[in-house]
């Protein structure tokens, strides 16, 4: 066992480090390191422009979308090289949040299902950061039950082959900054729910598309509602066959699970630092035995995630596929973040209620407290993740589904349910 690079990895790391050192927006480094959970990575300048500038710089030098083929704007690098890049990018990786969904999920789906001509047109501007994509999946009636979505796509009756879209999406990250969207719709409500879905892509500037920011429980607005009113798009913007949308969507969701090695933050190093400084009865909090027990349990969750990531990197380094252990990442990190924030406020005593720039660490723990509920829901709720671990990793049977083999239009909803 060791934590050393192979000679090839070391050479690659050296090359990456030199390039980042010469090219990264260093004037933003401090701000990126200090950024609070759930707020913009950068406040001192336009965060969108800063993100796009860094992405374009990487793209021009051949460091964008490392895992994509070169003809679509990528760099055709190995998974381990992608991991090393991420490690070296450090605080600047926070600027990439704008592109996470486009590069990680929409891009791979377009790559798998679009025509060659479309791929060559759509993917390079996505890789370069000139165009931003969002994913139009969740709906008010279909979050965890994604296939329960109700946005309709109907063939236009003018013989053009065009589709007319009506409905509503919700929880769309970054829709207000997006140029394109990956859109899943229902084209046939008379068949069981998974079978009547069809996937499209569309310009977010298409007439009839309206983006409305959601004011979140923490006061910020990262998510949006997107309304579709008689939106007309050509049949050429369909991905996969009519009725094949569920299969197409799985490409996206599988890619989400492949983005490993980055390691989610639990906030532990910040809490530890706080406990070194805070006092209980005139002594550093970190010397209190009750505090120590709490901290230790957070510490082993943090290090467990870190070394689970390293086990995955080990597999990648050997050219193998990582095991299922990475499926625990968000489940552990989300709950830890929330518990840890509650505990940090507890240690602040009655003053923990205050949330401003005079709060310890610039109000970091108050920010985590208010943002972490979303971490436990977005991209698969804790409960869905436990189902996935139970069913796909441990091999337990699926839940009994009462909507199986029932035409979609006959499935009861919150609206149709008789009391």
């Amino acid at each position: 066992m060791d934590f050393e690079d192979t000679p090839e990895e070391a050479a690659f790391r050296k090359e990456v480090r030199a390039w980042i050192d010469a090219n990264a927006p260093k004037h933003l480094e401090d701000e990126l390191r200090r950024a609070n959970f759930g707020s913009n990575a950068v406040e001192s300048e336009d965060p969108i422009a800063a993100a796009k500038a860094w992405q374009k710089k990487k793209f021009d030098a051949g460091w964008a979308c490392l895992h994509w083929p070169k003809e679509y704007g990528g760099a055709a690098r190995t998974p381990i090289e992608r991991v090393i890049w991420g490690q070296e990018e450090g605080p600047y990786a926070a600027l990439g949040g704008l592109f996470t969904i486009g590069h990680g999920m929409c891009g791979p789906t377009v790559m798998a299902w679009a025509s060659e001509e479309q791929k060559r047109e759509l993917l390079p501007p996505l890789a370069s950061g000139e165009e931003v994509w969002c994913q139009l999946f969740s709906e008010p009636a279909g979050g965890s039950d994604l296939a329960g979505l109700r946005t309709r796509a109907v063939k236009a009756d003018d013989g053009s082959g065009d589709w007319i879209i009506n409905g509503q999406k919700i929880w769309t990250s970054g829709a207000q900054n997006s140029d394109w969207g990956l859109l899943i719709t229902r084209t046939d409500p008379t068949v069981p729910k998974h079978k009547g879905l069809t996937m499209f892509f569309l310009s977010m500037k298409t007439p009839g598309v309206k983006v409305v920011p959601i004011k979140q429980a923490n006061g910020a607005s990262g998510f949006n509602e997107v309304y579709f009113t008689d939106v007309r798009i050509p049949d050429a913007q369909r991905l996969g066959a009519v009725g094949q949308g569920w299969e197409v969507s799985l490409t996206t969701l599988m890619n989400e699970r492949l983005s490993i090695g980055s390691g989610m933050s639990t906030g532990f190093p910040e809490l530890f630092r706080f406990c070194m400084e805070a006092e209980i009865d005139g002594k550093p909090a970190v010397e209190d035995s009750a505090v120590r027990s709490k901290l230790a349990q957070f510490a082993v969750r943090q290090s467990g995630l870190k070394y689970t990531g390293m086990r995955a990197i080990t597999a990648l380094s050997k050219g193998e596929t990582p095991g299922p252990e990475n499926s625990i990442g968000k489940l552990v990190a989300g709950a830890t973040l929330q518990d840890l924030a509650i505990y940090a406020l507890d240690l602040q005593g009655q003053a923990g209620v205050q949330w401003d720039e005079t709060s310890p660490q610039n109000g970091r723990f108050q920010s985590i407290l208010m943002r972490s509920p979303a971490t436990r829901i977005e991209g698969g709720s804790d409960e869905i993740l436990r189902n996935i671990i139970g069913e796909r990793v441990l091999g337990l049977p699926g839940d009994i589904r009462v909507d199986k083999n029932v035409p979609f239009k006959d499935i009861p909803t919150s609206g149709t349910r008789k009391s």
Binding site: M1, D2, F3, E4, D5, E9, F272, M276, V286, S289, V291, R292, S293, L295, A296, Q297, A299, V300, R301, S303, G304, L305, K306, Y307, T308, M310, R311, I313, T314, A315, S317, E325, I328, L331, V332, E383, L385, R386, N387, I389, G390, E391, V393, L394, G395, L396, P397, G398, D399, I400
Partner: protein, 374 residues
């Protein structure tokens, strides 16, 4: 980056697993639980014969000279089957004390016998209730003789010798090698929550003792050796956590209620997912510990406490929820769930309780932070 065992180490694991499947089925554990033997002698002899007891003992002292990573592999397998043998006392502790602090003649006298299973050693530290600390040590050395009582001492009734922490004539803590067959030693078997591993109260009265390591250095040496043992013990706990998770999973697949396998109920499924999460965190933390044990003395204090806290938490979590998944059947003597429940709670206390290790972990992280800042 290589945070995994090698192919050879994985082959060793398969070999040990096959051996234990044959020689240590649950009946073997039950025989010790219910019978008069405190450990399974044929199994212990078999482990010695395969060279597993001497895996990390150098060849010049009768071992196989593989290394501690191999010993981690063996420990995990022993933990999976609850092997009722004194490996932790004799190998993780006594042999480590000799290798870390023993003189050449002490090593030459005892290590070959520990490797061959001809002798069993143990470590006698605590003297009753509460968290161990230097000022609680009342067993005294005077003129090369020990007097006082140690309790509990793991495998104390079966060990041929013990490494004893005692107060020396200068008032410091030193370590002593003590032959337990001396007529002055009184050993009483204790009733415990886990009779599959023996515990004893040992009283010394002017018992001849030979110092191990430098005078006054006992607590320091003991804490280093306990760190090493903690990682090996963590692998045993990891094996137990994995096995109890599998037992619960298998039962959830097979047991029907309300016309469906109980594993299809989310209440059960989510409990199992959480068991998988703790076992996975423990495995990753144990690998970190194994790396430190094999390669990084500087990282040992934090790695040992991390592996230990994580593995203790995981095994207790999995063993208690294994009973819960089994429902009433899990609370019968006939089902094996209680064997794991007993062991998980006994191992959680061996080498110092969970809260002790939690406190150590944070103290050590603080010390490292202070060092980095200085």
């Amino acid at each position: 980056m290589n945070l995994d065992f090698s192919d050879e180490q994985k082959q060793l694991r398969d070999q040990v697993r096959r051996f234990l499947a044959e020689k240590c089925p649950p009946e073997t554990v039950r025989a010790v639980l219910e019978g008069s033997e405190r450990y399974d002698k044929p199994l212990y002899a078999g482990l010695a014969e395969m060279g597993l007891l001497g895996a990390a003992i150098p060849e010049e002292y009768g071992g196989v000279g593989l290394g501690h990573l191999e010993l981690c592999v063996v420990a995990e397998e022993l933990g999976r089957v609850l092997a009722p043998v004194p490996v932790s006392s004799s190998i993780y502790l006594a042999a480590e004390f000799l290798m870390q602090a023993g003189s050449d003649s002490q090593k030459a006298e005892w290590l070959p016998k520990l490797a061959s299973g001809e002798a069993i050693g143990t470590f006698a530290l605590v003297e009753g209730q509460g968290r161990a600390s230097p000022d609680k040590i009342m067993v005294r050395e005077s003129n090369g003789k020990l007097s006082g009582t140690k309790t509990p001492v793991a495998d104390g009734c079966d060990a041929d010798f013990a490494v004893v922490a005692a107060r020396d004539e200068e008032g410091g803590i030193s370590l002593y090698l003590v032959a337990l067959d001396d007529g002055s030693v009184v050993r009483e078997e204790l009733q415990t929550i886990d009779p599959t591993r023996g515990q004893a109260r040992i009283t010394f009265t002017n018992t001849p003792a030979e110092r191990l390591g430098p005078s006054g250095d006992g607590w320091h040496i003991a804490s280093q050796v306990m760190d090493r043992a903690a990682i090996l013990m963590a692998f045993e706990q990891l094996g137990g956590a994995d096995r109890t998770m599998e037992m619960a999973r298998d039962y959830a697949l097979e047991r029907m209620a309300f016309g469906r396998p109980i594993g299809s109920f989310q209440a059960i499924k989510h409990m199992l997912a959480d068991m998988y999460v703790s076992a996975t965190l423990a495995r990753s933390n144990c690998y970190y510990g194994a790396w430190a044990l094999g390669a990084s003395p500087a990282e040992m204090p934090i790695a040992a406490a991390t592996a230990r806290v994580s593995a203790t938490t995981a095994f207790q979590h999995c063993s208690k929820n294994n009973i819960q998944v089994h429902g009433g059947m899990g609370f019968t003597w006939a089902f094996d769930c209680h064997l794991y429940y007993r062991r998980s709670n006994a191992l959680a206390l061996a080498l110092g309780s969970l809260s002790t290790w939690e406190s150590e972990l944070i103290e050590r992280m603080g010390a490292r932070n202070a060092e980095t800042a200085a």
